[in-house]
């Protein structure tokens, strides 16, 4: 469309469309990112002068056992939320596209948790876990709810998973609805004529055609779960005894609460590499299984 031949003409088109986003991207993303990378090589304390310390911040960061505990915890969290969010999101999408009455009401309802900010949501669930469930548990003598889920490292982890899934499943449902409604009716009709049952159709037609929706949903849940901070903060604040400190919170605490800027930033960078690697592998793998109708 734009085939400017002259140098000036090319510059004009560039200035018209690309200069502003490029400027914003550079100043807001690239520069802070590089500055952060630079910071990992110094012993800067957030103020005052600093010296170059080579890779010692990375050594400190990688030798920190708590960092790896936190990473392992986060990976387990990602594993469970990834599976549960997408299974539930997909199931909900199937239910609300199956022609139920008032399905629009249900769509809106399931999506609502996503509109509540993570901090508020964390506090709401904190109340549910420490008060409502405990009350129900003691009244009905249900051992599993007799004491707060947030007070024990094992159940506190599952509380985080529950809240994470509850928050994100509705959003993923929306993406799956878009995927489901995008499948041409001629295909399902043909399958019906061929005598394919509901599950046959689901496995052989709908799911393969929905791979792009899965790609996006998996990527989004992966990234959201890895970076979860707000619900973590308001629900458990990393407790009890730092057992539910997810990696994003760990990085923040290391830098700002414990005032180790260098190692904290180094951990953030290590985290970036890990998440980038996983995300790229995931997207690449999903692209391979995509099919055209």
């Amino acid at each position: 469309m734009y085939n400017e031949k002259t140098w000036i003409g090319k510059l004009k088109v560039f200035g018209l469309f690309a200069a502003i986003p490029l400027f914003a991207f550079t100043t807001v993303i690239i520069v802070p990112f590089l500055a952060g990378l630079f910071m990992t090589l110094t012993n800067w304390q957030g103020t005052g002068s600093f010296e170059f310390t080579g890779l010692s911040n990375y050594v400190t960061a990688l030798q920190d056992a708590i960092f790896w505990d936190s990473m392992w915890l986060t990976i387990r969290y990602v594993f469970f939320t990834l599976i549960l969010t997408n299974v539930i999101g997909f199931a909900l999408a199937l239910i609300v596209t199956s022609g139920l009455r008032s399905q629009n009401f249900f769509r809106a309802g399931f999506f609502t948790p996503n509109l509540i900010g993570g901090i508020i949501l964390g506090f709401v669930w904190q109340f549910i876990f420490t008060k409502v469930l405990v009350y129900v548990g003691t009244e009905l003598h249900l051992g599993i709810f007799s004491s707060s889920w947030l007070a024990d490292p094992g159940t506190a982890f599952w509380s985080l998973v529950v809240v994470g899934v509850w928050q994100n499943a509705g959003y993923m449902m929306l993406i799956y609805i878009a995927g489901l409604t995008g499948i041409s009716e001629s295909l399902t009709e043909a399958a019906n004529l061929d005598g394919a049952g509901y599950f046959r159709q689901l496995i052989s037609i709908r799911i393969p055609l929905m791979v792009p929706a899965f790609t996006i949903s998996l990527f989004l849940t992966l990234q959201r779960s890895f970076m979860v901070y707000d619900t973590n903060l308001s629900l458990t604040k990393g407790g009890p005894f730092r057992s539910t400190e997810m990696i994003a919170m760990h990085v923040y605490n290391e830098a700002f609460v414990y005032q180790n800027y260098g190692p904290g930033q180094a951990k953030a960078f290590v985290l970036f590499l890990i998440v980038a690697l996983i995300a790229i592998l995931q997207v690449r793998a999903m692209k391979k299984v995509e099919v055209e109708a």
């Binding site: 807001v28 993303i29 520069v31 802070p32 990112f33 500055a35 952060g36 910071m39 800067w44 304390q45 957030g46 103020t47 005052g48 420490t130 405990v134 004491s147 707060s148 947030l150 007070a151 024990d152 790609t215 990527f219 990234q223 970076m227 901070y229 407790g239 009890p240 005894f241 730092r242 994003a248 990085v251 923040y252 605490n253 830098a255 700002f256 609460v257 414990y258 005032q259 180790n260 930033q265 953030a268 960078f269 985290l271 970036f272 998440v275 980038a276 995300a279 790229i280 997207v283 690449r284 692209k287």
Partner: protein, 438 residues
Amino acid sequence: MKKWMSLSIALALVVTVLSACGGNGKEGNEGQGAGGNAGGKAVDITVLVGKEEIAKPFEAMVKDYNASQDKAKVTIIPLSGANGYERMTTLYAANNAPTVISIGQEMPLMKDKLLDLTNEEWVKNASAGTLDYATFDGKVLGMPMSVEAFGFIYNKAILDKATGGSFDPATIKTIDDLKALFEKVQASGVAPITVTPIDWSLGAHFSNILFTTQSQDRDARHKFLEDVSAGSVDLANNAVFNGWMDTFDLMKQYNTAKDAPLAAQYDEAPLLLADGGAAMWFMGNWAYPQIKEADPDGEYGFLPVPISNNADDYGNSQISASVSLYWGIDKEQSTPEEQAAAKDFLNWMIGSAEGQDYYVNQFSAIPAFSNFQVQPEDSLSQSVLYYMDKQQTLEWMNLYFPPDGFPTMGAALQKYLTGALDRDGVAKEFENYWKTKK
């Protein structure tokens, strides 16, 4: 092509998210200096307040101050959700440092930026020991904000009933005394104590007692702290450690939330104490406003945390009372006029009748100066003043803990409360933590 598009979009997304958590680069813009001043107009100074509890009354006080004179105009910089040190460093990096800064544990990191206040008048009036932490190379760099004390807060009415008579805190001098008291309270049908398992309460305040009661001599107890971080102390065989853990055992055994110790919430404890659900609470005088709300007429006081069965041991009749926050003045990015205005503001805050009134009656603070005309009236503050008058106070050595000290030690004590760790385990976790801080 399509593949690469989505790949790069994916990458860009990740970068966006991560730079949000790794941000806070140091590229401050060389814009405005901290508002230069020329001529006789009012000097603009800014204050960074790190104490959220007093944010509202402080705002009202600043408003009054601005109205009372026309030499300076004070503006408050809100923390806006960040923690104090994070906010300080960003403001400094942006060349927009606050003129007056409330500063606590960050003092050693910030000391090169703070104005020498040694010649201020209030230095002479400061209560004994309150300037130690803010003094570097003989220079006083901070003005004490207020005295904060912690120990076992007790509800006198409950203890009166349990002991049959008017309860005298001086009768509890040993671990056995405390145990007998707990038993009496339990026999009277009230839970003896509620333990709030927050990491700062256990890891900074309760652990403080372990260090500060090691010796009456300041140098000796600081030497102990150094020895611990050098790894040459065997905590499991330390007499104070064992006595301190014996008391913790009592707290654990008689805790209201014994079955699920970590489920206890901070907000529930003042209500329990005020409504007769618990006789005691390990906490500090900052909790008084909440207690007062639930029980305005009740009488409360502090009991020391005993660490041995010898009544004369240091620590058995003292409570931890010290200054945890100081007011400092920036000397790096503020003009001499601004610094002078800041000094005036600090003097007004603790020297004028209005300032003192705000301090004592609005902030519920216990003044760290001997020349205050306004004195706190409530029973809990009276109890702190009683210990201060008799010089029965313990230093807050937790100010010298590294920033990750309280979460780590707090975690060990939380584990002990749930039974996940035994006494030797606590000693080991403490030792291992301090070894990393050589």
